[in-house]
C-alpha cells in the first residue's frame, strides 16, 4: 500500500535516515521500533510530507488523489492544538481542511469524540485537557478523514499506565479499519500492539518482518534454568562439566546455558537434574527474550558500523 525507496535524510553532516526501504501491506499494523535517535520520527515526518527527503521516494499504491495528504492521518509525538478551541471545534476544523462537508465533519467529530472517550470533554477548551486526553484527541484528528494510512509517532510513551492502556486499546480497534504504522522505543508496546516489526537503528532499517519470523531468525540455542536455592554453585559446576555446554552466564537467580545442540543438551540437563534431585523452579528452552533480541540486533549493528 505504501512503499519507501532508499529514503534518506541528512541534516548538515548528519545522516539521520539512511536509505530506508520498506513496504507496508494494506490492513496491517506495523511497529517502527528503535532506540531514541534512531531516525523514527524523521522517517514518519517524511512520509507525512512535513519534511522533504534528501533523496529517495515514497510511493502510495492506488493513489487517486493528487495530494498524498488526503490519504494519510498523522499524530506527532507531542501534538499541539489551538488551546482556546474546544475539542469538537478543532476536530470539525481539521475535518473541513481534509475536504469533508460541514455536516460530515460534524458527524465524524461527534463519533470520534465518543470513540476516543472524549464525549463529554468535546465541548471543553483543549487548554483544560490532560496529556492523555490530548493524545486521544490527537488520534481522533488523525482519523477524521478516514485515512488509508494512519501514522502515530510514539503514541503511548509519554502516558501514564491508564492512559497507555486506553490508547493501546484504541489502536487495537483502529487497526481493523486502516493500515497502522506507529513508532515506539518500548519493546513491550511494539509487541503488544502490532504483529509486524520494523527495527530501526542509527538511520537504518536493520530487521523487519513479523515478530515470529524475527524471533526465529535470531533464535539462539540457549537454556535458562533457575533453582529454588540461592547457593547454586555446585549445580553450576555440574552444568559446566557437561560436554554439550559452551558457556554459562548467571543473571541474578537465572542461569543461562549456551549450547550447540539444543535437543541433546535439553536431555542431558534434564537427566542430570533428575539424577541429583535438583530443585528446579524454571526451565526454558530456546527462546530469547525480546529485550535480548533488541539489544543483540542493535549491538550487532553498532559493531558492524564501527568496523
Amino acid at each position: 500500500m505504501i512503499q519507501t525507496n532508499e529514503l534518506t535524510k541528512t541534516f548538515g553532516r548528519d545522516t539521520v535516515v539512511n536509505a530506508v526501504s520498506f513496504e507496508l501491506k494494506p490492513e496491517t499494523c506495523v511497529a517502527l521500533l528503535g532506540p531514541n535517535g534512531a531516525g523514527k520520527t524523521t522517517t514518519l515526518r517524511m512520509m507525512a510530507g512535513l519534511i522533504h527527503p534528501t533523496s529517495g521516494s515514497i510511493h502510495l499504491a492506488g493513489r487517486t488523489h493528487k495530494d498524498i495528504r488526503q490519504l494519510i492521518g498523522y499524530l506527532p509525538q507531542h501534538p499541539q492544538f489551538h488551546t482556546w478551541m474546544t475539542g469538537k471545534e478543532f476536530l470539525v476544523y481539521v475535518g473541513r481542511l481534509a475536504n469533508l462537508t460541514k455536516s460530515t465533519a460534524n458527524d465524524r467529530a461527534d463519533q470520534l469524540l465518543v470513540r476516543v472517550g472524549l464525549g463529554e470533554a468535546g465541548s471543553k477548551r483543549i487548554g483544560k485537557y490532560s496529556g492523555g486526553m490530548k493524545q486521544r484527541l490527537g488520534i481522533a484528528q488523525a482519523m477524521i478523514h478516514q485515512p488509508k494510512l494512519l501514522m502515530l509517532d510514539e503514541p503511548v510513551s509519554a502516558l501514564d499506565p491508564i492512559g497507555r492502556r486506553d490508547v493501546l486499546n484504541l489502536m487495537e480497534e483502529l487497526k481493523q479499519e486502516t493500515t497502522l504504522l506507529f513508532s515506539t522505543h518500548i519493546l513491550n508496546d511494539a509487541e503488544e500492539a502490532s504483529d509486524h516489526l520494523l527495527l530501526m537503528n542509527d538511520g537504518h532499517i536493520i530487521e523487519s518482518g513479523s515478530f515470529e519470523e524475527v524471533r526465529r531468525r535470531h533464535a539462539i540455542n540457549k537454556i535458562v534454568v533457575r533453582f529454588d536455592e540461592s547457593d547454586s554453585q555446585s549445580y553450576l559446576e555440574s552444568l559446566r562439566s557437561l560436554t554439550c555446554v559452551n558457556r554459562l552466564e548467571t543473571k541474578k537467580e537465572e542461569v543461562h546455558v549456551y549450547v550447540d545442540d539444543l535437543a541433546g543438551a535439553r536431555q542431558a540437563i534434564i537427566d542430570i537434574a533428575a539424577k541429583h534431585h535438583w530443585p528446579l523452579v524454571h526451565f526454558e528452552v530456546g527462546k530469547m527474550s525480546l529485550e535480548e533480541l533488541f539489544m543483540k540486533v542493535v549491538d550487532q549493528h553498532a559493531v558492524a558500523d564501527r568496523i
Binding site: 515526518r45 507525512a48 510530507g49 512535513l50 519534511i51 522533504h52 488523489h65 495530494d67 495528504r69 488526503q70 494519510i72 498523522y74 506527532p76 507531542h78 501534538p79 499541539q80 492544538f81 489551538h82 482556546w84 478551541m85 476544523y93 481539521v94 473541513r96 481542511l97 481534509a98 475536504n99 490527537g138 484528528q141 478523514h145
Partner: protein, 257 residues
C-alpha cells in the same frame, strides 16, 4: 470551502482573544491624542511651568490637515509597531509550537493557509486604522477647521493600501523564520530600510510604497489624487501580490517542523 474554513477560524480567534476590540480602540486613542494635545498645548506648557506669572501664550493654531497628518504619523510609528506585534506569530508561532504539524499534514493548499491569515489581519488592521483616522478627523474638524469628509475617505483608502502592504511583509517574514520575535524584527527592519530608500530616492523612485503617506497630505488638502499616488498604489498592489506568492511558495518548500 477550505479558504473560508481557515479564515473563519482566524476570525473566531481574533474575536475570542479580543483583537477585534482592542486593536481598533487603541487606534482610536492614537487618533484622538494629537488633535487634543495640540489643542491643549498652551495649557500643557503652562502646567509644565517655567513661564512668568500672568504671561500670555499666543500660539498660532496649526492648519487642520497638519494635525490630521500628525495622527497619521502616530499610526506610522506606534500603529505599525502594534500591527507587527499582533501578527508576528500567526504562522511562525504555529510552526514553533507545533500546531502547524497538525494543520499542514491535512490536504490544505499552502496559498489558502497564507492568504486566509493575510485577509484576517488585513481586515483587522484596515478597520482599526480607518477608525483611528475617522476619530482624528472628527476631533480635528471640531477643534480646528473642517476637513471635507470625502478627502478623508479617499486618503483612508490609499493609506489602507500601505497598511495592507505592512501586513503582507509581516506574513511573508512569518514564512521565512520560525521565531515570532525575529519576524517582528525583520519586518520593522525592512520597513525602515524602505522608508530610508524612499527618502533618498524620492524623485528617482517616487513609486516606493512608503511614500503613500507623504502623498496623502495633498489628498487631504485639495481632494486631488496626484498622479504619483496612482503609480505608487499600482506598484504597492503588485508588490502585495508578489509577496503573497513568495510566502506561499516559501511555506510549501520549507520544512514544517
Amino acid at each position: 470551502m477550505q479558504w473560508l474554513t481557515v479564515f473563519n477560524r482566524e476570525s473566531l480567534e481574533a474575536w475570542r482573544n479580543f483583537k477585534w476590540i482592542w486593536v481598533p480602540l487603541v487606534f482610536i486613542l492614537l487618533g484622538l491624542m494629537d488633535p487634543l494635545t495640540t489643542y491643549y498645548m498652551p495649557q500643557i506648557l503652562d502646567a509644565v511651568g517655567g513661564l512668568p506669572e500672568g504671561a500670555i501664550i499666543d500660539i498660532p493654531s496649526p492648519p487642520a490637515v497638519d494635525v490630521l497628518m500628525m495622527s497619521i504619523g502616530q499610526f506610522n510609528m506606534l500603529g505599525v509597531a502594534i500591527i507587527v506585534l499582533i501578527s508576528m506569530g500567526t504562522i511562525a508561532g504555529e510552526r514553533k509550537s507545533g500546531v502547524a504539524e497538525l494543520i499542514l499534514v491535512k490536504p490544505i493548499r499552502y496559498s489558502t493557509y497564507v492568504t486566509a491569515k493575510w485577509m484576517n489581519y488585513s481586515l483587522i488592521c484596515v478597520t482599526a486604522v480607518s477608525a483611528g483616522m475617522l476619530s482624528s478627523w472628527y476631533y480635528v474638524s471640531l477643534l480646528f477647521e473642517e476637513i471635507p469628509f470625502g478627502h478623508v475617505l479617499t486618503a483612508a483608502a490609499f493609506y489602507s493600501l500601505w497598511i495592507i502592504f505592512i501586513v503582507t511583509v509581516n506574513i511573508m517574514m512569518n514564512t521565512l523564520v520560525k521565531v515570532p520575535g525575529v519576524v517582528a524584527f525583520l519586518t520593522i527592519a525592512f520597513l525602515i530600510a524602505l522608508q530610508i530608500i524612499g527618502q533618498i530616492f524620492q524623485y528617482a523612485a517616487n513609486w516606493i510604497p512608503s511614500l503613500i503617506t507623504s502623498y496623502i497630505g495633498e489628498v487631504l488638502t485639495t481632494g486631488n489624487i496626484p498622479e504619483e499616488l496612482w503609480w505608487t498604489s499600482l506598484v504597492t498592489v503588485g508588490l502585495i501580490i508578489t509577496l503573497l506568492v513568495i510566502a506561499s511558495y516559501t511555506l510549501k518548500n520549507k520544512e514544517v517542523v
